[in-house]
Every structure is written in structure tokens, then in C-alpha cells.
């Protein structure tokens, strides 16, 4: 898509202090024989103002990972590990303390704007309630600020929109409202979970540009969750590739796009359509299905679908280990770009 034409941003992660630091986070549902591990020992780090892309097929655990970080998982889920936001541990935090962070310091934009807004409340109410709660604004001030923010996300006739209900707005418009809502309190971290998946292609580009400009302007760190590598180009500083609940490759965006190490990353990148490809040729795809999360792990989870797999792969699970200066990969036989 567009990523070939955009310049790749410079890596400034090393200098920035960490905004979010996650250590060995695991999420499990159910118990006993029917236990499902949705996220397995994921560690990640997002510096202030930095953008981290998380890529994986649906079911790879990327949404569960961030739902867990936000403390939004149902009570049946068990989360272990550590989530530090600006140094403070978030796991096991009291609901009151958690609510002081959510919507103010960390906010989230969800995948489906059609169902993510409360249907019976006016747009204005849903925006101002955040400000009145977190910024202790009175109704008039909150309204003023909400209006500004709606205009900021390029919503036309913002004053009128404030009085409308979600169903009166188009999908792209609603996603803009969601973004405006997330940015109301100038959060330090914005989590965007497949923010463009439910939208038309033309609207997708607009929403991405909007996210990018909001981030630049507010200096917000961002986690951009997607199944589409193409979206990350030009946006993400670092990228995590997830498969079956685990991180299989972590690298800075430029390195990953140029030379993916893990066969799965390479496969995903190959799925991205390019202009250079002959029009008639079929889009490549990765054959097979992700593993059943109820099955016990034996060896590499990707092995059954991997073209490079050898005997070792189905016996021993590859650890995520340092490959070169700033890259990590979990593969016995990574691509060699040397």
C-alpha cells in the first residue's frame, strides 16, 4: 500500500524513558484440562512518545494482551506477570486507582466503531463525561473542550454532532469520535486495537493519518494493534510479531520490513500486496491454520505451517533470543540475510 513511499522514522527508543513496561505477561482462561492460554509470557516496552506495532493473525492473542494491560478482561481470566506504567505496577491495582489511569493516562480505541459507542447517549454526553470525571471540568468547559477535540479530528459541524446519537454517524465518523474521546485528556499512551479494520479503504487511510498527526502533536506513545503489516509502515518505530500467544519476533520497524528473520514475519510481509507484483499473480498467503489454543505446546507453534521447519522444530520450542544488536527472534532456523 503506502508504506513503500513513506520514509521510515528514526529509532529513538533508546533515549526515551519507558512509558509502558510489560514483563512475562500471561493470560489464561478456564481451568484444568480446558485451560486456554491466550497470552504466553509476553514482554514489551514502549518508550514515551514511541509507537509500537503489534502484528499477528486473529487469535494470536494481541487483543487479549492489551485488554489485559488495561484490566478489561472478564473476571474469569487469570493474568500473571507484570505491567508497569511509568514505573507503577498496574496488575492487581484497585479498581479506583485503575480508573484514575484509564481514560486519562492510558486510553484505548477499539476495532468496531459501530458497536463501541453507547447507542442511547448523545455523542456530546459520551465525550464530556470523560472530562467531567478526569479533569473535574464543569459541563460548559467540558463541552468547549469536546467541541475543540471533535474539530481537531476533522469532524464537520461539530456543534451539531454533539447532539447526535451514534447511529446517525457513519463508521469513519464514529471512529474519529472514538479517537477524539481517547485523546481528550492528553493521554501518555494510546492503544489502538485494529482501528481501521471495520472501515472502508479510503476512510482507513484518513484515520491512520489522523492517528499519526494526533500522536505527533500530543507526544503520545502508541500501541497499534493490527493484522496488516502495511498499516504499520511509517507509523511504528518498533514492531512485535505475535503468533499463538507468543512474541516470535521483535525488531525496529525498518529492520523488520527490510529483512524479516522469522518465517512467519516473512510470510506476513509477503501477504502485503505491492504495486511491483504482476497483476495477474495470486496474492501469497500462509497455508494452514493457527494451532488450537487448548492443545498442549510441543515445539514451535508455527512449525506445522512453516516451510523451513525441520525435525528439531516440532520437538523443542525456540526461545525468544537476541539475534543481533536490537533484534530478537524465536526461531531455530531464522532467515539469514547476511
Amino acid at each position: 500500500m503506502r508504506w513503500m513511499s513513506l520514509t521510515v522514522p528514526v529509532d529513538h527508543a533508546i533515549s526515551a524513558p519507558p512509558c509502558l513496561q510489560v514483563e512475562a505477561l500471561s493470560v489464561r482462561f478456564g481451568g484444568g484440562a480446558r485451560e486456554i492460554a491466550a497470552v504466553k509470557e509476553v514482554s514489551l516496552r514502549i518508550g514515551a512518545g514511541e509507537c509500537l506495532g503489534i502484528v499477528g493473525e486473529s487469535g494470536s492473542g494481541k487483543t487479549q494482551l492489551f485488554t489485559a494491560i488495561m484490566g478489561l478482561l472478564p473476571q474469569t481470566a487469570r493474568t500473571t506477570g507484570s505491567v508497569r506504567f511509568k514505573g507503577g505496577e498496574m496488575l492487581g491495582m484497585s479498581p479506583t486507582d485503575l480508573n484514575r489511569l484509564r481514560g486519562r493516562e492510558i486510553s484505548m480505541v477499539f476495532q468496531d466503531p459501530m458497536t463501541s459507542l453507547t447507542p442511547h447517549l448523545r455523542i456530546g454526553t459520551q465525550l464530556t463525561e470523560v472530562l467531567m470525571l478526569h479533569a473535574r471540568m464543569d459541563a460548559a468547559a467540558a463541552r468547549q473542550r469536546a467541541l475543540q477535540m471533535l474539530e481537531r479530528v476533522q469532524i464537520t459541524r461539530a456543534g451539531q454532532r454533539m447532539h447526535q446519537y451514534p447511529h446517525e454517524l457513519s463508521g469513519g465518523m464514529r471512529q474519529r469520535v472514538m479517537i477524539a474521546m481517547a485523546c481528550l485528556c492528553n493521554p501518555s499512551l494510546l492503544i489502538a486495537d485494529e482501528p481501521t479494520t471495520a472501515l472502508d479503504t479510503t476512510v482507513q487511510a484518513q484515520v491512520l493519518l489522523l492517528l499519526q498527526s494526533m500522536r505527533r502533536e500530543l507526544g503520545t506513545a502508541m500501541a497499534l494493534i493490527t493484522h496488516d503489516f502495511a498499516l504499520l509502515a511509517g507509523l511504528a518505530d518498533h514492531v512485535l510479531v505475535m503468533y499463538a500467544g507468543r512474541v516470535v519476533e521483535a525488531a525496529c520497524a525498518a529492520d523488520l520490513f527490510d529483512a524479516p528473520l522469522h518465517p512467519y514475519s516473512a510470510g506476513l510481509l509477503a501477504c502485503v500486496p505491492r504495486w511491483s507484483q504482476a497483476r495477474a499473480s495470486r496474492l501469497p498467503s500462509i497455508a494452514g491454520q493457527p494451532p488450537d489454543p487448548r492443545e498442549p505446546e510441543a515445539g514451535c507453534a508455527f512449525a506445522p505451517r512453516c516451510t523451513r521447519a525441520q525435525a528439531l522444530c516440532s520437538q523443542q520450542r525456540p526461545e525468544l533470543r537476541l539475534h543481533s544488536s536490537s533484534r530478537r527472534v524465536a526461531c531455530h532456523y531464522p532467515h539469514d540475510h547476511g
Binding site: L72, R100, R102, S107, P119
Partner: protein, 308 residues
Amino acid sequence: MIRYFASRLAWGLPTLFVILTVTFFLIRIAPGGPFDEEQTLPAQIKRNLDAAYGLDQPLWVQYGRYLRGVAHGDFGPSFKYKDFTVTELISQGLPVSATLGSLAMALALIIGVLIGILAALRHQRWGDQAVMAAAVIGITVPSFVLLPFLALIFGVYLRWLPVAGWEPGSARHYVLPVIALTLPPLAFISRLTRASMLEVLRSPYIRTARAKGLPERIILWRHALRPALVPVAGFLAPAVAAIMTGSLVVESISGLPGIGRYLVQGALNRDYTLVMGMVVVYSALLIAMGLLVDLLYAWLDPRIRFQT
């Protein structure tokens, strides 16, 4: 909103008219007159009686007169309560029935919704399961089994409340009938509320509200309650019908002098005009309640307002 209301109203009035017409002609077509059972009546007296009640005139004249009467709130004389007109009997009974019915409806709604919400919040803990098991039984036990049973416990054994009967202005006589009338719809509403609340709490917009850092209190009352009440509003019309139906037996058992008791007495006595008047009044009430319910629906879900 006004258009929506008008379109609903446009449905109710013809229905009422159809009911009026059908009831009127069914009665006239039916074999036998109201005085047939008084067999000893000489032919001349019977003719005089028919003339006095206008039964000797052509059908369409009677129909026209009846319609005109109903439009003025006059349902004609009762055939069995000879000193009263049907309108008098209705205006006597209606306040009692209305008190009974609206109390039952209000209690069923308020308590039912509250129990449903509490059960949903305690989902899969013992409180939830106990309440829902009780609700299944509550839905099943018919009011005509429940009321005598309650009267037995609280009236006969404990002597806290009167077994039956009525005195003007006495609240104590209403207690047991209201409870018997309230419980079945209450149980149903609580089950309905619980189920829809559980579903709403799992919905994406509630997740958004949580992600916004809103406290549970605001999430529940501002974001979750109204959508969760939509199915309950859908049940209101059947609930009104159920309470009206239930009031027939409850009034008959407890001796509360409401219109339900008159209807049953009228039916047992084959008192044509009385039953006819009652059917019309009940139908009008039901249709009016249906309209109210539609309005409530529109308030709960803004999407409905824009359809016609």
C-alpha cells in the same frame, strides 16, 4: 416522535372499533336473549322488557344507538344488576381495579428490575442462582393458587392480614391481592432483566466505558441500564395483559369489588351488556397501555424513534 406516536395511535383506534362491532353483533347473533333463563316470564312481560331495553328494534338501529352511547360513555343498563347502568358499575369498580393493577405493575417493574440487576452483578455466585431458581417457580405458580395459599398463611394461620373482603379506604385488604398479582410478572421481569443486563455488560460499548475509566456506578446506571431495559419494555404489554387477566381471579377470590369481579359475575349470569361494556373497557385500557409502552420503547432506544 409525534409521527411515531400518531402511527401507533392510528393502529389502536380501528382495533377498538372492531372489538366494539364484533362484540355487538356476536351477542345479537347468539341464540337466546338475556331473559331466557327466567322461564316463567309471560310473553307480554317479555315483550315489554325487550321494548324497554330496545331489543325490539332493527339491528342497525340498536348498533347505532349503542355506538352513540359508548361514545358518550354510556354502555346501557345492566341486565342483572337491575338498578344500575353498566357505566355506574364500571365507575364503581374501576378505581379499585386501577389501584390494584397499577400497584402490581409498579411493584413488579421496580422490584423485578432491581432483582434482575443484582443477580446480573452477582453472576454465577450463589445469590444469583438462588434468585433465578426462585424466579422459575414464581413464574409458574398461577395467581389463583398463590393467593389462597398466601391467605391461608397470613390470614388464617398468622392472622396478620384479612383473608378476603374489602372496606373502603382500607389498605390492608389490598396487600395479599397485590402480592399475588405482582409475583408472576415480577419473577419474569427479573429473569428478563438479568439476561439482558448480562448481555449488555459484555457489549463493546460497556468495554469502551470501562476503558474510559468510568466508575462502575456510572457504567451501570448511565450506559448499561437503558439498553438492558429494552426487552423489559417489550414485555410490558404482555405484563399489563397478564395483570388484567390475573385481576379477574384475584378480585374474585379476595372479594375486592373491582371491574374484574363484575366481569366474572356478568359472565356467570350471562349479563350481556355488562360483559360487553367490560370487554370494551378492558380493550381500551390494553390499547392505551400498549401506546404508553411504545413511547417508553422509543425513549429507551433512540433508533426506534426514527422509524415509522
